[in-house]
Symmetry: C2
Subunit: 451 residues, 2 copies
Amino acid sequence: MSNVSIPKGTRDFGPEVMRKRNYLFAVIRNAFIQYGFEPLETPAMENIETLTGKYGDEGDKLMFRILNNGEILEKAKSSENNNALIKNVSEKALRYDLTIPFARYVAMNRGTLAFPFRRYQMQAVWRADRPQKGRFREFYQCDADIVGSNALLNEAELIALYLDVFRTLNLNVEIRLNNRKILAGLANCIGAADRLTDMTILIDKLDKIELSGVMQELEKAAFTAEQCEKIQAYLSISGDWKTQLTRLREIGLASDEMVAKGIAEFEEVMTLYRLMVGNNDGIVLDLTLARGLNYYTGTIIEVKAKDVAMGSIGGGGRYDDLTGIFGFPNMSGVGISFGLDRIYAVMDELNLFPQEVVSATKVLLIQFGGIAESVCLNAIRQLRLNGIPAEIYPSAEKIKKQMEYANKKQIPFVVLIGDEEVAQSKLILKNMQSGDQQLLTLEEMIQALKN
Amino acid sequence: MSNVSIPKGTRDFGPEVMRKRNYLFAVIRNAFIQYGFEPLETPAMENIETLTGKYGDEGDKLMFRILNNGEILEKAKSSENNNALIKNVSEKALRYDLTIPFARYVAMNRGTLAFPFRRYQMQAVWRADRPQKGRFREFYQCDADIVGSNALLNEAELIALYLDVFRTLNLNVEIRLNNRKILAGLANCIGAADRLTDMTILIDKLDKIELSGVMQELEKAAFTAEQCEKIQAYLSISGDWKTQLTRLREIGLASDEMVAKGIAEFEEVMTLYRLMVGNNDGIVLDLTLARGLNYYTGTIIEVKAKDVAMGSIGGGGRYDDLTGIFGFPNMSGVGISFGLDRIYAVMDELNLFPQEVVSATKVLLIQFGGIAESVCLNAIRQLRLNGIPAEIYPSAEKIKKQMEYANKKQIPFVVLIGDEEVAQSKLILKNMQSGDQQLLTLEEMIQALKN
């Protein structure tokens, strides 16, 4: 078999990519832990009933289903149509996101969990989407949620967590906030409360088709001229957040109860954040932010990288009843998600990954064989006991070949121990980048590499 | 929906379990990095052709297959039998182990990898085995392999890595070594070279059915009385490894070329390990060790926990041609695997998980509301900036409720800041286990919690 391949839309992550990914996972995980979030992992496969109907018809179609094991011929043959067939031969599917498995877990463990329950989860999800640039059939989600508390301090904490992570990554970002109550209030005000979802879906397209495009689509979707005018006035509001709130009041929207509630929530989140961190730097109000998902009911959050053209690299929001579908109603929650693949792409483009991520191994011991070998074997042990990631080439090949290995793995130092060095109880430490060589004792080398 | 469940044989890993699992992953990963292994992750699903025929008929049956998306009714209806049906409606399956995906990856990337290639991989695998105690349908494997080098130093390094990990875990283990060449030589000697696999499979049962049972099964499998006698003499060899090797020579086996080669390899591994670490402590020769997998050709390794009855908690060995099936022949390699679930079970039974794994959050700030809130919000920020995992209860609920939350999450300290403390610019730090309370400044508390 010479034409080996992997399924389309999936990826192997080789050493270099994995080290960078692991660095991102570690930074994010560390922030989650700092903020008191607890780890959760759920199975790759869930029962079909857990997943279907939760992501719309589209989602149901894009799920990867697991074929039942054993005899399925009879059931397959007697199936009336494609949907019946799928139901008859498959009882499980791969998870489609981390939110539904989380809700399912909370509902199943409601009796033992400490509420408010703060969990983080970093696992792969699978979608049978058509693969294209930046869109994969297997990708990781990194989520943090707090359920069982409607306090707005949770929102402030999640924003602080976001900004901490991106500061650690040296990635310049902007946190965009809005509140679904403001959008719901807008729909109320224009007499289109029942069309909130239609409206938010169209507003969501603003990034792609600009204001004129959105207005055209609203018209096409049979919003009246008067409604369109009010939506346009709303979407045209600009300035810093205080100016925007003033404008909202000026155009009369703030007199709607829902809008007023949304504004109050937004202001409280800003106040709590300021009391915690000392300022509101990096946070903006974006009244055009809609976030398509229906289940958001309060604060909505999106993160944009500032120095590069890229969609959002993170997002989340407040939902009022996520676990109700699993028989555990009225649990308010708020969550955020890190878009790992996009963060990776931005970091890579801006060359932001730290140098030490490039190679984990700090030093390669070159093998000459003979007596030097036992000296090398002792040296490698001492290096590792001192916490220095080290390798020894496993056999006494030509030095050129061993050096090439070090170069290919981008190992920054090699150690050479020939008979002469053995006689002097010394070794040569060579810096592979500068070419500098030092004659050192083992102790001295360990000290040099520790710094 | 009130009867929510997860597929049988799968598990949710809640916070407490995950913290312990993450601790194990971190210790193992850290050792892999110390020894120069590079991270690899492969997709959960592989093309069917990559997996089928690699694990025997049994393996093919136990694979979880992914149903093709889209219209499959026609193909299903026209299928002649169950096997044809499965082929017609499924082109992908979930990975069954990490070894075949690794071999596939090496074959696909042979042109760019630095050989010898040292990779580690820690990912879930899926098998449709009948679930039972300690056997799951989704479980993690943690593998490290070196391919592209037949130097026996690799074996010595992997043994050192094993012992380093278990020393870090405070888990008392024994490394059992054998060499498949000794077993192959034994089969030669008794004129059963063509029945090596049958023989090793039966020898593998020694742990379960003892020597008498194995002898009965050998007889049943039509090994002759003379053959059985020689196998019995071999399996009865005991003592330390030097005594065992002497005995192998005494009963004439060592005159077989293969046996002699196996002995020489074993001795060299021991010598190299001793030169590296200074002794051979914790390593034994176990001539009855067979390890069923056909692809092993040299050293075989198994790890047993010493203070508890449990099967092997790790194992591996040398194989001569793993990537040949993917068109890249003659790549010798050697690998080991950590049995995460079993290591977890042993650690839990012996109570070996360190205390700091129990709770990640070190301190909970109790909320009283009012002016104290802003003091609390500043305090939580300072704690986190100082690297102390900290939480603040999100709303000013009854103190009893907040304390219960701290207890349930096993958070070791709580902080109380009432109006009186605010007036003094102090706070109360309470040790939840001892009940001790200290009146401290914020600075003093941070220092106290850092230690």
